[in-house]
């Protein structure tokens, strides 16, 4: 693919997506640059979550869904036959809207992914767990109780645990679906802080739970409306000087 540039981590071309007969994404094309935070925002039911989930093929779990178009990760089509879906999901990790620790200890939650990928050595796992928790700014709060249940943490801690769980797999891209929607401002700012640090090594795509968060954390933003990509650009430019009237209406709170 000669027209995909080096710095494009993910490139989406003419993506169409259907749940049954409902068209959720309409002929959507989008480039995601390496090591940026891209925020995909829009009102409810505009396809933001679906777009996020197409990037690690989590949409395939929904019966009756259909996809058209192409998605490239580092220039490789993620739908080609030789792609190992488990490896793809390790490379492109995902954090869900509802913090969902598995019913096991904090340690085992984080070691879950690495163990599935075949790492068995206890010392290696311990190292991975500590590093991941430090990267998600949770280490200091849980280092003395790694073997208590992940469910015993507060909502904000659980979400950082989920981020640590992804980081344990050494991902290249992280997809976050409204990761702070149920959290208090302190937890939210802690998560945003960890995202800014992670950006050094990882490409981050986030669907924020409100427009303000998009403005705070993102390098670039993409505005989605009814499955159409309305506008994409550098955050400050889109927020101060939107090219499309629908974007400015949404940002200024005239609808949505």
């Amino acid at each position: 693919m000669e027209n995909i540039k080096e710095q494009d981590k993910i490139s989406i071309k003419n993506l169409n997506f259907y749940y049954g007969k409902t068209e959720v994404l309409k002929d959507l094309s989008l480039l995601v640059k390496a090591n940026e935070i891209l925020s995909i925002f829009g009102p409810a039911n505009s396809g933001t979550t679906t777009l996020l989930r197409t990037m690690n093929r989590m949409t395939e779990l929904v019966p009756g869904s259909r996809i058209g178009g192409e998605i490239f990760l580092d220039g490789h089509n993620i739908h080609s036959a030789n792609v190992n879906i488990s490896e793809l999901r390790r490379k492109v990790g995902m954090v869900f809207e509802v913090p969902a620790p598995l019913p096991m200890s904090i340690f085992n939650n984080i070691a879950y992914g690495p163990r599935l990928s075949g790492i068995k050595n206890r010392a290696t796992l311990e190292e991975i767990v500590e590093k991941s928790l430090q990267m998600s700014v949770l280490w200091d709060e849980v280092k003395d109780r790694l073997h208590t249940s992940g469910m015993s943490l507060s909502g904000g801690q659980q979400q950082r645990l989920c981020i640590a769980r992804i980081l344990a797999l050494n991902p290249e891209v992280i997809l976050l679906d409204r990761p702070c929607s149920g959290l208090d401002p302190v937890s939210t700012s802690k998560i945003e802080e960890s995202l800014r640090q992670l950006k050094e090594k990882i490409t981050i795509i986030i669907v924020p739970h409100n427009v303000q968060q998009a403005g705070r954390v993102a390098d670039r933003v993409a505005f989605l409306l009814m499955g159409n990509l309305v506008e994409v650009g550098i955050t400050a430019e889109v927020f101060e000087n939107p090219k499309d009237k629908r974007t400015s209406d949404y940002i200024t709170g005239r609808f949505g």
């Binding site: 019966p63 990790g93 598995l102 019913p103 797999l169």
Partner: protein, 280 residues
Amino acid sequence: MRIRLNPRTSQKIAKVVIWSAAILVLFVLFSIIIYILSKGIPNITWQFLTQIPSDMGRSGGILSPIVGTLSVTLVAVIVATPLGVGTAFYLTEYTRESTITKIIRFSAESLAGIPSIVYGLFGFIFFVIYLKLGWSILSGGLTLAVMILPTIIRTSEEAIRTVPPMYREVSFSLGGTKWQTMLKVLGPSALPGISTGIILGIGRCVAETAAVILTAGSALRMPISIFSPARTMAVHFYILAREGISLERAYGTAALLIILILLINIGANLLVNKFVAKGH
């Protein structure tokens, strides 16, 4: 004309009715258990537990029926558990609702309602005669396995369905395959429910008479392999009581059966709790 009660009166009546229902049930259950235990326990001696019955069961102990019960039940559980849990996982994880799943579920539910003597007849014709296994622990165990299969399928399926769907998504999103997800997340989360089904199954096996007498026989000798015929405690009790051989020994056997079932329940609960406590 409708009679109108004031809410406080109806509340009081409801309370009395509900409480008396609960107390009545408890009373009936406990009086049966206490009656059998008080009649039976005096007969349980060291000799009773360690000797093989002699003179048709009039003297000696019930060691061979104890061994018979445990081995027939063990065969049934070893055969039925993987089949039942496997079918439950197939129904919930590996297939979508279709005609096939409906047929499987319908057959399982119909099987659950069949009287056990019919299983006995089937086991006699199929395992004992057609497969030439004879009256044996194996025939009895396989027949009981078929009998408890529906219970295990249904309770396991129920248990797997109540695992939050989110756990599956999380496991897949961390690169887990379907098999890994089943083994490491769904299985452990559904374990309490699955083990309830297995315990119910064990209870039915231990207590079963009709199906076992037709397939495992009623030999009083000590079984030496799974191809030996055997008498279970329930069958022993039935023969002792029905043929008026020894009522004291019948009560002793019954008391031991109740104690055995209680111990199995308590043991299984402890095991499950220990396992579950690790995660929650």
